[in-house]
């Protein structure tokens, strides 16, 4: 980590800082990285053990969102249930 700190200005200048890395780790789930981006991603992945987890974490987040995002809807309020039933009855009349 100390070496990482010493290298920080250079990493920043070359687009291989931690911040650049997490942007790339996120972007690679939306689109293919360019060759330059892929090289910068791989370089930072090698030198920074903390950031290495970002990619798996983002994949896990997408998986958790797909699995749980639309589940466990709260129960419908009685007033809303009645409103919907009335709307369906009205639709019958047309």
């Amino acid at each position: 980590m100390r070496l990482h700190r010493l290298m920080a200005p250079w990493l920043h200048l070359t687009g291989t800082s931690c911040r650049h890395f997490i942007d790339l780790a996120s972007a690679r789930l939306d689109r293919p990285l360019t060759l330059g981006e892929a090289l910068r991603y791989r370089f930072h992945w090698v030198i920074c053990r903390y950031c290495r987890l970002a990619g798996p974490h983002y994949e896990q987040i997408l998986e958790m969102t797909r699995m749980h995002g639309d589940k466990d809807a709260p129960p419908l309020r009685q007033e809303l249930r009645d409103r919907f039933a009335t709307a369906l009855d009205k639709a019958d009349g047309k």
Binding site: A8, G69, D72
Partner: protein
């Protein structure tokens, strides 16, 4: 295949309201959209082939209603600005700024502050919804369209009312904020 009964449609209404609320942000709009969906489904009930589940069929109708809702918002710029809560969905300063120093290195890596714990599926479900709801509205809409509805980035950007260039940036920020939120809840490690 028998057409669905009114009771069967209303039994799915809670799911439809939650589905719409996550995408439009306003509970009132979500309830209106769910009602429109149920009425449209009831009128077209003979068209339900039963090849997919009732929920899938209703969700397909609702998805179109949500897109129409955004089209109508875009035709009234004032409502759109209110719904988006800011220009291009930027919603204030970049939250990532506080996490990195001027060289783009972590000030304090989030992993140093949290520890993952074993959690039940229901807790995971609640945590995901909590973290999604904590996102700024435009970010949540965009993220849901992209991840839950698997829209391509252009369609997701259009549905959320942002440019595709902004959408890429917002998606990065949204994922990162979700990461921090889920780590704080003890789900990532």
């Amino acid at each position: 295949m028998d057409s669905p009964s009114k009771d069967a449609l209303i039994a799915e209404a809670g799911y439809l309201v939650a589905f719409a609320a996550l995408r439009v942000g306003s509970l009132q709009d979500a309830e209106d959209l769910a009602q429109d969906t149920l009425v449209a489904a009831w009128r077209q009930r003979d068209g339900f082939a039963g090849t997919s589940s009732l929920r899938t069929w209703l969700t397909g109708i609702l998805r179109h209603k949500v897109i129409d809702h955004y089209r109508s918002l875009r035709r009234t710029p004032t409502r759109m600005a209110v719904a988006l809560g800011g220009v291009e969905g930027q919603e204030g300063a970049d939250p990532l700024d506080a996490l990195f120093d001027s060289h783009g290195s972590w000030r304090a890596h989030p992993l140093a502050q949290t520890a993952p714990v074993e959690r039940a599926s229901r807790e995971a479900s609640e945590a995901v919804r909590h973290c999604l709801e904590a996102l700024p509205e435009t970010w949540r809409k965009l993220f849901c369209w992209r991840v839950l509805d698997q829209a391509d980035i252009l369609d997701a950007a259009q549905a959320a009312g942002v440019t595709s260039a902004s959408a890429s940036v917002i998606l990065v920020r949204a994922k990162h904020r979700l990461r921090l939120c889920l780590m704080k809840e003890g789900f990532l490690g």
